[in-house]
């Protein structure tokens, strides 16, 4: 049997598929989150240097990973939307942006909560913190540009260009901030974690990262379903959908 992937490029066929997939991703995300939180709170040992406060990395590190990864995926969908002119790709890009921005905020917030007991400051101008902050600005720019343009197709394409420009810039920004940081600041504050991580700590972090993945996919699919309904409200299949008994 040959699977025709392009069949699901049409919103009309993707909408029910997404509806079927969401519970799977949502439930596996919830189960993984419970398992990950159990591992990170009850199984993982207390760090001998940082005490209990280190446990925030079980949220912080997965959130930081997701914030960067979602930006790249978003730019990938945006590029696909520009190149193949498929509506659904652009919808996926705009469905991912709020989730990415959310994870960036979580990463910054938990970083601050971790920094206060560990470094004694809510915020330091560390290279990673600074580039994460700039990443948040890039997400906000994407969302703001998309919201400012009334015609959805034009909004899609304009914000796609912005996302691609951002993707070219992210490494440049990261390295310039890193270099700026090493020039300005002595090694008083080091972001490097304890060199050896206990296996259970790593496991907890990986399970939490997987949970974040599942959550992101479920959230993006749910959001893209709303976007599809909003944009295709004149389509016949949506009228039929409304008539169907639930």
């Amino acid at each position: 049997m040959k699977l025709n992937w392009f069949k699901y490029a049409a919103p009309a066929t993707f909408y029910p598929l997404a509806g079927k997939l969401i519970p799977w991703f949502a439930w596996s995300g919830a189960i993984l989150a419970v398992a990950g939180l159990y591992l990170s709170f009850f199984v993982a040992p207390t760090d001998f240097q940082q005490g209990e406060s280190y446990r925030i990395i079980f949220i912080h590190v997965p959130a930081a990973w997701m914030s960067m990864f979602i930006y790249i995926v978003m730019a990938g969908w945006a590029a696909a939307g520009l190149i193949f002119n498929t509506r659904l790709s652009s919808m996926m890009a705009s469905a991912l942006a709020p989730t990415g921005a959310l994870f960036t905020v979580i990463a910054l917030w938990t970083g601050a909560l971790w920094g206060k007991p560990t470094w004694g400051a809510w915020w330091v101008w560390d290279a990673r913190l600074t580039s994460e902050l700039i990443l948040l600005f890039l997400y906000l720019g994407f969302l703001a540009l998309h919201a400012a343009i009334d015609d959805p197709r034009r909004a899609d394409r304009a914000s796609a260009v912005l996302a691609l420009v951002g993707v070219v810039n992210v490494p440049i920004i990261y390295f310039s901030v890193k270099w700026w940081n090493t020039l300005h600041q002595g090694a008083s504050v080091s972001m490097t974690m304890a060199p050896k991580m206990a296996a259970t700590m790593l496991l907890g972090m990986l399970v939490m990262a997987l949970a974040c993945w599942m959550y992101s996919i479920a959230a993006a699919l749910a959001r893209v379903r709303c976007i599809i309904l909003e944009r295709e409200q004149q389509a016949e299949w949506i009228a039929n959908l409304a008539k169907e008994p639930t």
């Binding site: 703001a144 400012a148 034009r154 394409r157 260009v161 912005l162 070219v168 810039n169």
Partner: protein
């Protein structure tokens, strides 16, 4: 192609010269912002000397961003932008011409006046020379990056504020290496590394930004 480039540059510079007040506004904005900082942080010369590179560069960033609105808005309003997009020459050439004109009108005067402002902050002569060089390399890059944001927001409501949100995060590397060069030179170190990276970024911007800008313009004018 060269003729188109020359024509666009001379047309835009001529248009800007017909409305000199706009050009002067950008310049005065730069001067005023830079002069406000000593009033805010106090007249201690040591503090001011340490802050000068950052202040001058941030002021340059803001001034360059303020003038971005002029890049495409007027041409969009009177319809000539559409004619330029339809012209047989590659749109990237038109964009390069417009960016060059924008830099000549808003970037170059700022570079030329910056030594005077630097004197207010008691920067040593060597650092002032580096500042001049760094601004000379950095301000065209600001115009190039800014053009992308300006093209994306052509005809969008609230475009002026939006463009700052889009463009300022992308200005970060220019700020870091520009201010870093002046900083290094003020503390007696070699600024060559910073300036080289600034030059490399300028080349990268020259290669990629006109392309992205013309894609954005095509989308905006659909």
């Amino acid at each position: 192609m060269m003729r188109t480039l020359r024509y666009i540059v001379s047309r835009d510079v001529l248009l800007a010269m017909r409305r000199r007040a706009d050009v002067a506004t950008t310049l005065f904005f730069f001067v005023i912002v830079a002069s406000l900082f000593p009033l805010g942080v106090g007249p201690d010369p040591k503090l001011l000397r340490a802050m000068a590179p950052g202040i001058l560069w941030v002021a340059a960033l803001l001034a360059s961003m303020l003038s971005l609105g002029r890049l495409f808005a007027a041409d969009y309003a009177d319809g000539s932008l559409e004619q330029l997009v339809l012209a047989p020459d590659p749109l990237a050439v038109v964009v390069i011409g417009k960016v060059l004109a924008h830099w000549l009108v808003s970037g170059l005067p700022l570079v030329l006046i910056s030594p005077v402002i630097a004197l207010q902050f008691d920067l040593p002569a060597e650092a002032i020379a580096t500042l001049l060089l760094a601004l000379l390399l950095g301000t065209p890059l600001l115009s190039l990056i800014g053009a992308i944001g300006a093209a994306l927001t052509v005809g969008v409501r609230g475009g002026g504020v939006l463009v700052s949100l889009l463009v300022l995060p992308l200005y970060v590397p220019v700020l870091i290496f520009g201010a870093g060069a002046v900083d290094a030179s003020a503390s007696g170190m070699d600024a060559g590394g910073h300036l080289s990276i600034l030059g490399a970024l300028l080349l990268l911007g020259m290669a990629l930004a006109p392309w992205a800008t013309s894609a954005a313009l095509r989308i905006s004018l659909e």
